[in-house]
Subunit: 447 residues, 2 copies
Amino acid sequence: MNPSSASQDQCSLDETHDPQARSWLASANRSGEFPIQNLPFAIFRRRGSSETFRGGVAIGDQIVDLAALAARDVFQEQAAQGIRAGALTSLNTLMQLGPEVANALRRGLFAGLLEGSRLQGALEACLVPQRDAQYSLPAQIGDYTDFYTSIHHATAVGRMMRPDHPLMPNYQWIPIGYHGRVSSIGVSGQTFHRPRGQKLPAGTTQPVMAAAERMDYELELGVFVGRGNDPGAPIAMAQAEAHIFGLCLLNDWSARDIQGWEYQPLGPFLGKNFATTVSPWIVGIEALAPFRAPAFARPAGDPQPMVYLDDEANRNAGAIDMQLEVLLLTQQMRAAGEAPTRLSSSNFKDSYWTVAQMVAHHTVGGCDLNAGDLFGSGTMSGPGKDQYGSLLELSWGGKNTLMLPNGETRTFLQDGDSVILRAHCQREGYARVGFGDCAGTLLPAIP
Amino acid sequence: MNPSSASQDQCSLDETHDPQARSWLASANRSGEFPIQNLPFAIFRRRGSSETFRGGVAIGDQIVDLAALAARDVFQEQAAQGIRAGALTSLNTLMQLGPEVANALRRGLFAGLLEGSRLQGALEACLVPQRDAQYSLPAQIGDYTDFYTSIHHATAVGRMMRPDHPLMPNYQWIPIGYHGRVSSIGVSGQTFHRPRGQKLPAGTTQPVMAAAERMDYELELGVFVGRGNDPGAPIAMAQAEAHIFGLCLLNDWSARDIQGWEYQPLGPFLGKNFATTVSPWIVGIEALAPFRAPAFARPAGDPQPMVYLDDEANRNAGAIDMQLEVLLLTQQMRAAGEAPTRLSSSNFKDSYWTVAQMVAHHTVGGCDLNAGDLFGSGTMSGPGKDQYGSLLELSWGGKNTLMLPNGETRTFLQDGDSVILRAHCQREGYARVGFGDCAGTLLPAIP
């Protein structure tokens, strides 16, 4: 399989997408995040153990332990190669092997988990309950790039600052992105202290040093790079998705007051680099094939994408129909045993730029991508006011107070607040594919 | 030794700074880059070999091979620990061991290389000529941060865009920085193709996709982080330099036309991420002790640094008196066997912010630094017009043509141009400490 046909395969369906497929594992057949059609990857070990972290694949409420499976040697060829790579302490090696191996592994595990498979015994012996698992970052992330692909978010944020011309003139031409901080990326469950930093109090000209007051989340997709490009070689649109391993959720925590004072002229720095949280499970690009959607329909008057950002496959199916939501669990709600409350929901298909366009743009000047590199999509806000992916938008810069069901109010986050991102893909005639939670908690500033 | 006293030590002199000290290696005693008072680190192997890369220390025209030295086991305690760490394929482990080990290693090697040392025979057996060496990046760089610490550069660039108020209001308060791309950092000798990208032709409103025309270098210092901070814990000024391993040269290659169109609102991206070159040798912070200088003298009216960016040691000796220069070797000069021509020179002591201030600011919000992280200082321009650290400034945005001695002209770089950065510290009564070359070459755009 050459990269070109691998790319086509991202949108083609095979037996692994059959909604009638059932597993011998009962929990996989109940409506949930991880049916047999999903099979996402994570790095895990048993919580509280000193086991080595290794790769696992989610099925129902269990994890197929790839290190245990590698030791049993029941698969062949590329599937076996994938399992050996997946047994390591990070997924980078598996990612670098590319879509041929990832897809062989997917098909192999699918067959083994199917009702009636002769491999049931071998696989049952490799299961670890998800409730017992502790996760680490799924990859050693070499570089992290945060994009800005929702025109709804860019317009809303721009409108607060420049009501007359909210969008920068480059927005409709360039999938805007910048380099983010790798060292502070953590996996779901991450906790971090409210950062201190410089900020400019409203109406003054002298900054102060204090704990951030405008603490925010950003609802984003995370995109893990699979096989890297050849050094210095641009990746064309037709090959772009063959260089993507899969998607997760990402919370780009932001201190708006620090960011506002520091970001000119070189972009966000301390306003973003104290914490970034990703969900532990990476849903393979192949599992998302049933949920592909046409790329953003540009209104009349918007420029069409330049040639290097455009192809027919992208126009027809470059987007992904993926429902996203943000939930908030406050300290008070936690103490009262209440469930988190939903703040907003949106859909990744409303992104102005697609994953393939991110890849093509990132590499057009020769920048090297490596397996395990991470992209953030940028805040995924939709066109509606209930679809804003940040408190900055929901509170309109802190001007509007959000009422929570328990009577609490918020403009920005308070100490003890947990933010939980969730996502799923659902389409008539296909099994629902979930992503698992991306949760993180804001602790008080260090005194 | 606790971190606080280690920090004080950066500015204190010991036997390793004695200008009278001479080595048994004759080339170390001739005026050059690498006398016995310098002892910088690199990662190297013999060129054309398939040897494993390992650490080395420059002395005269030779390299002390730390892997060979580790095998001979002639040092004790912390010096021996440092040599074992330095024998690995990157310097990260040595960096993480902190200043106590780095300084013990420095003192041990200094004693062994001194005229009359009983270790002469053992060390002689570990020498590899520099002319035979191939270098790799000295560390696995987890994160790369580029600062903007020269007010002369920020003012010059600002003046081209905003003649009335060239400096942003935050400049004198914040050591402005942003996250750069790690994957495209290479060691001296790096070659790269002229990037293609979007740019907005002057006087138009529609961008074009083409090879960059305004190719530039930036003369910068590189700063390698040593021991990281505790997770989420700010580093105070008094401890800041105890977290620095050493300094090198860094060329932040820039495509000004790509950068100009893309950088609003989130900062530089493709205009910078195609290549960044560092010099192979890292001069330890301890070797620079004789060349410390008072921090930038702020003119009346400039705000004083905030408390977290200020202490007496920094005011008195936070800067480093380090001469920098940029040389250009064109294709035509190379063909004619001519020497490179100097474009400008400047001094790191004219930086508005010091290395300690970069560390304190970077971590004040809880961002994690790790051993091997790299900072760029930002373009080091001085107050004079012959001290500009980029062609953007020297040609004033392309308006002024530079005449080269051989009759060629430049506004920006042409294909085949090599840019060579050099630096040294020199002070009456002390041995001259050099940094070695940081060279890179621009190749034509990929067709």
